[in-house]
């Protein structure tokens, strides 16, 4: 066991998967000689060379397409997109090609690519560097979308994503790259599917994914000093959703809140409320609450930015609202 940061966990997963299988390659802007914007591939260029750690030009749509084409003949590319905002440029090859080729070919051709990209607000990066977009990917048939909340999942899910035969989008977060966790030294894998109860509770389920799990955990801490026992559920996979684990938790606590960093409209929260309504409506004792970003492009000014993005306090207050305490 040793403490390891999120970025180091990703780096270790790359290293092990590349050592394990010569068909695994990584490609992206500045990932090679420069070592990666968040250091996720640092040192690997020297170890694996320019044929396997590929510095690409700033051509997101086509280098993603090249990764997809390579995956169609057996390669296992890990494609890094520097920021999820830039993934918008790659939507044609990702959504029109990778997500559909297995289906359009009647199951005869597959595209086992991994696309890694940080989505989320950092510090005053303004509207064009603060998109979340998870909701857009989770609404696309033919993709898997996972959202590791910490180093253990970042490592274990990336390794599974490389070996899985489907296109997998791994959504990371700029504010989590330095987050640390104790991690076993031995190799392990974390499954791509399955929500996880990260804190047991009785009175309310706080549902989060990616960074918002941490907001839920902080809120749960505060609720505990108020005598409220909050359960925290990490969705982990946005596509497919683990409806079973969500249902079981809500049937236990009878109340829930969903916290997302994205805008609310047609978002993760609306989907979670929908599936809970369909699966266990009568288990609910209270109206749910959605914690989400304001419906604005993310502003630069730090006060405005803070006001636009949900905080642990917002989750705490939302929980009190569900519980009828305010």
């Amino acid at each position: 066991m040793a403490e390891i940061a999120y970025w180091e966990a990703i780096r270790r997963a790359h290293d092990e998967e590349m050592a394990n299988d010569p068909l695994v390659i990584a490609m992206g802007e500045d990932i090679g000689v420069a070592g990666g914007t968040y250091k996720a591939t640092s040192g690997l260029f020297d170890k694996y060379g320019p044929q396997r750690i590929i510095d690409t030009p700033i051509s997101e749509n086509s280098y993603t397409g090249i990764g997809i084409g390579a995956s169609m003949v057996g390669m296992r590319p890990i494609i890094e997109i520097m920021s999820i905002n830039f993934a918008l440029l790659a939507l044609d090859t990702l959504i029109n090609a990778a997500a559909k080729i297995r289906y359009m070919s009647g199951g005869r051709v597959q595209c086992p690519i991994v696309m890694r990209t940080p989505g989320g607000t950092a510090h005053q990066l303004a509207a064009q560097h603060s998109a979340r977009l998870a909701r857009m990917f989770m609404s696309t048939s033919g993709l898997r979308v996972v959202t590791p909340r910490g180093p253990i999942d970042a490592y274990g899910m990336l390794k599974s994503a490389v070996r899985c035969n489907d296109p997998v989008i791994v959504i990371e977060h700029e504010q989590m790259y330095n987050l640390k966790e104790e991690m076993p030294d031995e190799e392990f894998f974390r499954p791509l599917e399955g929500a996880e109860i990260v804190r047991q509770g009785e009175d309310i389920t706080l549902i989060g994914y990616n960074y918002s799990v941490h907001l839920c955990l902080q809120a749960a801490q505060r609720l505990e000093s108020d005598g409220v026992s909050a359960e925290v559920l990490d969705l982990r996979s946005l596509k497919p959703l683990d409806r079973e684990t969500i249902r079981r938790s809500v049937e236990k606590t009878h109340r829930f809140l969903i916290a997302e960093e994205d805008e609310a409209a047609v978002g993760v929260g609306s989907e979670i409320i929908s599936v809970i309504s369909e699966d266990c409506f009568y288990a609910l004792d209270a109206q749910p609450v959605r914690i989400h970003a304001a419906d604005v492009p993310v502003p630069y000014n730090h006060r405005l930015e803070k006001a636009a993005i949900p905080s642990a306090d917002d989750v705490y207050e939302g929980a009190l609202k569900v519980l009828g305490k305010i």
Binding site: I66, V73, D92, R102, P191
Partner: protein
Amino acid sequence: MNDSDKKRLLREMIFYRRFEDRTFEAYMERKIGGFLHLYTGQEAVATGVLDMARMGGGDKADYVITGYRDHVHAIKSGAPAREVMAELYGKETGSSRGRGGSMHIFDPTANFMGGYALVGQPFPLAAGLAMGCKHKGTDQIAICFLGDGANNQGTFHETMNMASVWELPVLFVCENNMYAIGTHIDRSTAVRDQYKRMCAYDIEASQHDGMDIETVLEASKKAVDYVRKNSKPYFIEFMTYRFRGHSMSDAKGYRTREEEQEWEKRDPINIFAGKLKKAGLITDADIKAMEKEIDDEIENDIIKFAEESPEPKVEDLGKYVLDDNPDPRWIGPLQQ
């Protein structure tokens, strides 16, 4: 190229012409739905280029990829014609199990990696196929066929740049028929000669007559050999013409009958048949017999197979979205 090869190529081109004509009829009978883009008039290009490549599938053969006008490219790559027809009929026995249709023929057993509807999307996919071959150390190459209109997509510029920088073994074949649906190239594109655009990427390029299969064969042999030997991209442009409308519902109001007639004089099948007749290799009666044989095959084997094949089952609607037999080690469920 010996005499029997020449006769074979003529037969292939006639077969492709009749195949496409027959799909047109089936479309009119509403046996085929969706969009249907026919290759009529351009046969010498795919036939000639791919005859110079390694066809047939497997780990020695080259990879082929193209847009939505893909039936002939698929068959020439080695996809069984009856499966291509069954795909157009939307049948379970089709090349893509009835899930893709005319624009999305796939046959990985023939290394035919698909037809794509997004104009320009195959550029990067082709470069990726080539990257895979290069990475694995084989001497296979990727061959990408696209139209003149596709060259105005960002993927064209992005991919040419990367294919050049990374020295990928990919042959880009530009089938310049001077129209993107109803827009003439002069109204959409700064230069008519597409091969000239390659100087920006330091890629070897050339332009040839795409209506004369002997020209296509000769130029393609050089291009294919260049890509394979040097592991570098090459861009080859063929000037050609599509004789039919862009798709089924096309009144062709954007071009004149005179222009069409000028090009019809250069019908690739007539040009080649004329040469073979002149050389005494074939007679009109031979060609008649050939056509009869082809029509019989299309009717009694290909169409029959498509007609009699079963539809996909509605219960199978959700198959092929993701891996249907995933490994639980990577997928889960998660042990709580």
